[in-house]
């Protein structure tokens, strides 16, 4: 007996399932390849639950990065979640016992689904969050099973993450239709690739992009107050 709310959530998370199963499997395979035990990889998909964050964690683990570096890099990588939360402050009001979990499980894909609801309810939102988490975990289990058994040559499968970022960038460009953030990203991203050592690259690029956006904001405000006077 499956309730109406579960069926609706299942239907809505279907595209995410198709994305999370192979991507979760890719994570599981990469984790096994860098020497993380299968149960640790599975635990990561339960308690971390962040696609890019988990891939970054495997990279940092393989590189022998320090814990401070891991904490800072993870927070910088996931800094966009701060803004997801800001736009969901009102929507999550009154979610009660579901709220801590829904904040914990706020991935890019879950955020997209939750904010595109015509008739949002906390019951439906919670089920969407939970099912997406389940698809990601299931994908990871498939990945560690396949990766351990060496059923096929998985070399290069981690490109799925690069492909995901390219698709998300094109979707962002489509929504925003402004060159500014992409110009800033080109300057700071390429600058960081040329100037910074690998382990500080992401930090440096995102940090300096934030500073440039802050400068742009202050510049805009000054110009507006100048026009007003």
């Amino acid at each position: 007996m499956i309730s109406q709310a579960w069926r609706e959530a299942g239907k809505q998370t279907l595209p995410v399932m198709f994305g999370y199963l192979p991507l979760g499997a890719a994570f599981g395979i990469v984790a096994i390849e860098v020497g993380i035990p299968w149960y640790a990889a599975a635990a990561m998909s339960i308690i971390i639950y962040a696609g890019a964050g988990q891939f970054l964690a495997t990279t940092l683990l393989a590189a022998g990065a320090g814990l401070t570096e891991v904490a800072v890099a993870t927070m910088m990588l996931n800094s966009r979640h701060v803004f997801y939360g800001l736009s969901l402050l009102k929507r999550f009001q009154g979610a009660g016992w579901r709220k801590p979990y829904m904040i914990f499980a706020l991935t890019d894909e879950t955020y997209s689904l939750l904010t595109s609801q015509q008739a949002y309810t906390h019951a439906l939102g919670f089920r969407i969050s939970l099912l997406n988490h389940l698809w990601w975990f299931t994908g990871t289990l498939i990945g560690v099973a396949v990766g351990s058994a060496q059923l096929f040559n998985s070399q290069g499968i981690e490109f799925a993450l690069t492909a995901l970022f390219i698709v998300l960038t094109l979707e962002q460009a489509r929504r925003l239709k402004q060159a500014l953030p992409f110009l800033i990203a080109l300057v700071t991203g390429l600058g960081a690739v040329l100037l910074l050592p690998d382990r500080h690259l992401l930090l440096g690029a995102i940090g300096s992009a934030s500073l440039l956006l802050l400068a742009h904001y202050r510049h805009d405000r000054r110009r507006e107050s100048h026009h007003a006077s």
């Binding site: 595209p15 994305g19 035990p37 990561m44 308690i47 971390i48 962040a50 890019a52 964050g53 964690a57 940092l60 814990l67 891991v70 904490a71 993870t74 990588l77 996931n78 800094s79 966009r80 979640h81 803004f83 997801y84 939360g85 800001l86 402050l89 009102k90 904040i103 040559n153 070399q155 290069g156 490109f159 799925a160 993450l161 690069t162 492909a163 995901l164 970022f165 390219i166 698709v167 094109l170 962002q172 925003l176 402004q178 500014l180 953030p181 992409f182 990203a185 080109l186 991203g189 960081a192 690998d198 690259l201 992401l202 690029a205 995102i206 992009a209 934030s210 956006l213 802050l214 805009d220």
Partner: protein
């Protein structure tokens, strides 16, 4: 230490991830409508996405002068597969299709050494 290095890293990564998701709900709820927050909320996410693309493609370094790659021979397949992903997505706008075909093409290229 109580935990071995793998579990230490996993716990730190989990706490750091949850912290970024929790932060606005505990600290910034009253600043939600501040214009600077709106400005960053509007422009930082797309900038971060493109930075992540550049980060992922950093092993392709023609700027080094001699097309020397710092990760085997994966550089040229990386760019060809990326162009395929972008082209497919601009054409069909099907995220799954772009990701699956792009990844498959990359895997074929690096495994069969067609390019590189």
């Amino acid at each position: 230490m109580l935990l071995d290095p793998v579990w230490q890293l996993i716990v730190v990564c989990a706490l750091a991830t949850f912290a970024t998701r929790l932060l606005p709900f505990v600290a910034l709820s009253r600043q939600a409508d501040h214009p600077l927050i709106l400005h960053l909320g509007r422009y930082l996410p797309p900038a971060v996405m493109l930075i992540l693309v550049i980060y992922a493609l950093r092993d392709f370094t023609p700027l080094a002068g001699d097309w020397q790659l710092n990760m085997g021979d994966d550089g040229l397949p990386l760019v060809l597969a990326s162009l395929l992903v972008a082209g497919l997505h601009l054409w069909r706008r099907n995220a799954l299709l772009s990701i699956v075909l792009g990844t498959a093409s990359y895997m074929l290229m690096v495994q069969l050494s067609w390019v590189g």
